[in-house]
């Protein structure tokens, strides 16, 4: 089977070469990171999810700003406190010609959390939900307590075919036999590390994509990716290195597309230890952890020149951040602005807190996870040193960093005192960062799982939990915004900037930039 598809792909490829790449409707995209599988339930990871959107529709789709819109479900609503009803789209066909109905949804929801060997599955989104088929085109999802985020959770689950996919193993998806969805593209070939080829689904229920064939080529090295675009080997690339943006802007043959992402880069401060391991007095002696004092945290926030980080370090490809998600997302507050740069006020606050001469601090960060992460840590180190907090900078590969930052101390607690991290809100609304970063760390209830500073405030906790119970959108929006305002008021966390992602395409093509950082062939439009 694989041999056959490979041969077909080669034949098609040769055909395209002979007919001239420009005239054919083939699109070639250079990806910065490659999916680890074609099984849409194997690995809950950005690149995998982006790839599966081509092949497998969700019940509820997320548009380029992660707003929800009808997918395979035409409508959804809570019919009582514990039950959500999904009305399914009729007349939709899978790539193999079979009809889509409620059985496919039921079997998908059963398979998604249970894929063998999955490094990180979709159980996170399906916990505590029971699915029932009411009729061929109605499905009920029942929960134990009121659950407003149902639609967001469901929008992450790719729907596979009952007949072709539900009993299939991951290898069958990689071979293509089980990769049968209802999406705008069909599987053609998958060669790990080399290429993924898809062809248009001419029977697609929605708008048919403008490309008859799409080839994704993983090109990990940034400069090579740019070179491949300049050489005309690919039509578009994702993840343009910030250092190349200026050069590409000056190139007439290239068009850039940029958009802010749902990823905030922020600082977490140790707020749970009296003696923090990486905080020292000026003479190197142990001191009481100054980060417990709100005034010190606020001083740090004021000492950071966010505009300078955006302009100098990020070469303009970022937005200064004053909260957890950029404007336009559900649950953001209209009242919050990025903390203004004010070194004098920072010094005054430090003096007021009893640290007129400052103290010593180490900032830890990854050096291969976020755009320019190590450089940002260095810049912040210098800014803090300028207001008297003598800051050392230590960066490390993410494979080492995240383990230590999460549970690196001898007793399994976060090891560092002051860290640089990022958070992408996969659900596209503010409860995601609030629940994981701000809520008190609570292992049993699954709150604060990434709260590495261990900030804890019962009032904020209560409000977040109330938001997570409130099905009414308007009320929930208010509760989320209010929780965010209180967290920022407490300086529980210091947001620095929102990442802006850049795609580059050959002249005549534009990409509709997405906040979830996905690279989708459907978003590439001809002018």
């Amino acid at each position: 089977m694989t041999k056959l598809t490979a041969a077909t792909a080669a034949a098609v490829g040769a055909l395209v070469l002979f007919t001239g790449a420009a005239s054919a409707e083939k699109l070639t995209i250079g990806l910065a990171s490659e999916p680890t599988s074609m099984d849409p339930h194997f690995h809950n990871l950005g690149p995998n999810n982006a790839m599966s959107v081509h092949l497998f529709d969700r019940l509820i789709a997320q548009d380029e700003k992660q707003r929800l819109s009808p997918g395979l479900a035409v409508s959804w609503k809570p019919i009582d406190d514990l039950t959500w009803e999904f009305k399914l789209r009729e007349g939709v066909k899978f790539h193999d010609g079979s009809d889509f109905n409620a059985d496919d949804v039921i079997c998908t929801m059963a398979r998604a959390p249970e894929v063998p060997n999955s490094p990180s599955g979709y159980g996170t989104y399906l916990k505590g939900k029971t699915f029932k088929k009411i009729d061929d085109f109605t499905v009920h999802a029942v929960t134990g307590s009121p659950y407003p985020l149902m639609a967001n959770d469901i929008s992450t689950i790719p729907i596979i075919s009952d007949s072709a996919g539900c009993d299939a193993a991951t290898e069958d998806f990689n071979a293509g036999t089980a990769a049968v969805g209802t999406g705008p593209f069909k599987f053609s070939s998958y060669k790990p590390g080399e290429s993924i080829t898809l062809v248009r689904n001419d029977d697609y229920w929605g708008d048919a994509p403008g490309w008859s064939e799409v080839e994704f080529r993983p090109i990990k090295s940034g400069p090579s990716r740019v070179a491949a675009l300049l050489a005309g080997d690919v039509d578009m690339i994702a993840g343009v290195p910030t250092t190349d943006i200026e050069t590409l802007k000056g190139n007439d043959g290239i068009q850039l597309s940029q958009g802010v992402s749902n990823r905030v880069i922020y600082l977490h401060m140790d707020q749970f230890r009296e003696n923090s391991p990486f905080v020292k007095g000026n003479d190197g002696s142990e001191i009481k952890n100054p980060l417990l004092d709100r005034r010190v945290r606020l001083a740090i926030s004021k000492a950071i020149n966010r505009d300078a980080i955006v302009d100098r370090v990020m070469e303009g490809v970022a937005l200064p951040a004053g909260q957890l998600l950029p404007e336009g997302f559900f649950g953001v507050s209209d009242n919050l602005q990025p903390e203004a740069y004010d070194p004098e006020a920072a010094k005054a606050l430090l003096a007021e807190a009893g640290y007129a001469d400052g103290f010593q601090l180490t900032i830890h960060g990854p050096n291969d996870r976020y755009i320019n992460d190590a450089k940002i840590a260095e810049a912040i180190g210098q800014m803090l040193t300028r207001v008297g907090i003598r800051t050392a900078v230590e960066t490390m590969p993410r494979s080492v960093y995240f383990g230590r930052a999460s549970r690196g101390s001898p007793d399994g607690l976060p090891e560092f005192s002051f860290i640089l991290v990022g958070w992408g809100a996969g659900s596209g609304e503010a409860s995601s960062p609030l629940k994981s970063l701000i809520h008190t760390y609570d292992k049993d209830r699954g709150f604060g799982s990434s709260n590495r500073g261990r900030h804890s405030d019962t009032e904020i906790d209560a409000m977040i939990e109330e938001a997570l119970r409130t099905v009414d959108d308007e009320k929930r929006q208010d509760l989320l915004a209010k929780s965010t305002e209180m967290a920022i008021e407490n300086v529980a966390i210091i947001p620095t900037h929102f990442q802006v992602n850049t795609w580059a395409a050959r002249k005549g093509l534009t990409y509709i930039a997405r906040t979830d950082e996905y690279t989708l062939a459907m978003g590439v439009v001809k002018e």
Binding site: A10, P119, T124, E194, R217, A231, S399, V400
Partner: protein, 325 residues
């Protein structure tokens, strides 16, 4: 000879075992793969489940014993990231690396030896000086930089060759190779040249030194006095004598071509083992890293063995004996 080979294989087995200890513990005490794998949305229970599933909650000695048990049955563990057996993944990516290393070796021999021969025969000629200067560049320029320059010049500026990727492959004896199609050949040329650059320089220098030394030897003078043609002296008598160091070094370098194709494969997005390794290291896919290193050790040991056997063929004075006894 048979005794020699058996003894060497036993030694190899010991070396591989020793390496398994070093590699396994070396790789397993660094970093934490769990946070590379789980989605940020995962809560504490999900993270703990992932730790248990990967067996990381067991003491490291347990993990090592499990690994050895599996290894004895030819199972080097499942990749954390792909969920497939690490060995299968590596074998799947191996043909791409082997064809790249093989092409680079061919380039090194085809270009390096004639150039070295020429500059050895006419050391004062301007061309020879140019060749030697070039070989210094080949030695000293970093591979990743040269790779990017090759792409910029030949793919971006001139547009003669494709910048990255493997191109079309065809099946030869059941193995997919890009050496069998034009498109594949055009894709492999730049990465092979990039990888070969250091080896070309090495071959030039070795050949040149050998030729210069041999040309002054008595047997060459005697052959001259006998009236044998220069061509025969060079290509039969001199070449035979200088080939031993060249074969040794090139043989050993073949191992390093495979081992160090990592940089070239990353720059040219070549889907070989090296790229698999670098991805595995970055994402802390421990089983793949361990399996890759184990295979590399095996490779080096085997290549050494082959080089020893080739010696005895090239130089009848060398007898393969049980020297250890």
């Amino acid at each position: 000879m048979t005794v020699f080979v058996i003894r060497r294989l036993l030694q190899a087995f010991f070396v591989v075992f020793l390496m398994s200890v070093i590699v396994f513990f070396g790789v397993n005490i660094v970093g934490d793969p769990v946070y590379m794998l789980v989605s940020p949305d995962a809560d504490q229970a999900d993270i703990e489940a992932a730790i248990r599933r990967l067996g990381l909650d067991r003491p490291i000695w347990d993990q090592y014993v499990l690994f050895l048990k599996g290894a004895a049955q030819g199972n080097l563990g499942d990749s954390f990231i792909f969920g497939e057996p690490a060995l299968k993944l590596i074998l799947h990516h191996m043909p791409a690396t082997l064809e790249l290393a093989f092409s680079a070796l061919v380039l090194a021999i085809v270009l390096g030896i004639p150039l070295g021969l020429y500059s050895g025969l006419y050391p004062d000629h301007m061309v020879s000086k140019g060749i030697m200067a070039g070989s210094i560049l080949g030695f000293s320029l970093p591979t990743f930089w040269v790779g990017l320059m090759l792409i910029l010049v030949f793919a971006v500026e001139l547009g003669w060759l494709p910048s990255t990727g493997r191109g079309d492959t065809a099946s030869v004896f059941g193995i997919e190779t890009s050496l069998a199609t034009w498109d594949g050949l055009s894709h492999i040329f730049l990465p092979a040249l990039n990888l070969a650059l250091l080896k070309i320089s090495l071959a030039i220098r070795l050949t040149r030194a050998g030729v210069r030394e041999a040309m002054g030897q008595d047997y060459v003078k005697y052959a001259r006095a006998k009236g044998i043609s220069t061509k025969r002296i060079i290509f039969v008598h001199v070449m035979k004598n200088i080939m031993i160091p060249v074969v040794t070094v090139m043989g050993l370098e073949f191992g390093s071509l495979i081992g160090f194709s990592v940089v070239t494969e990353t720059i040219f997005a070549w889907p070989g083992m090296g790229k698999l390794l670098i991805d595995a290291i970055l994402q802390l896919d421990r089983p793949v890293v361990v399996a890759y290193l184990m295979i590399m050790v095996l490779f080096f040991v085997l290549i050494n063995l082959v080089v020893d056997i080739l010696y005895s063929i090239l130089d009848p004075r060398v007898r393969l004996q049980d020297q250890g006894a």
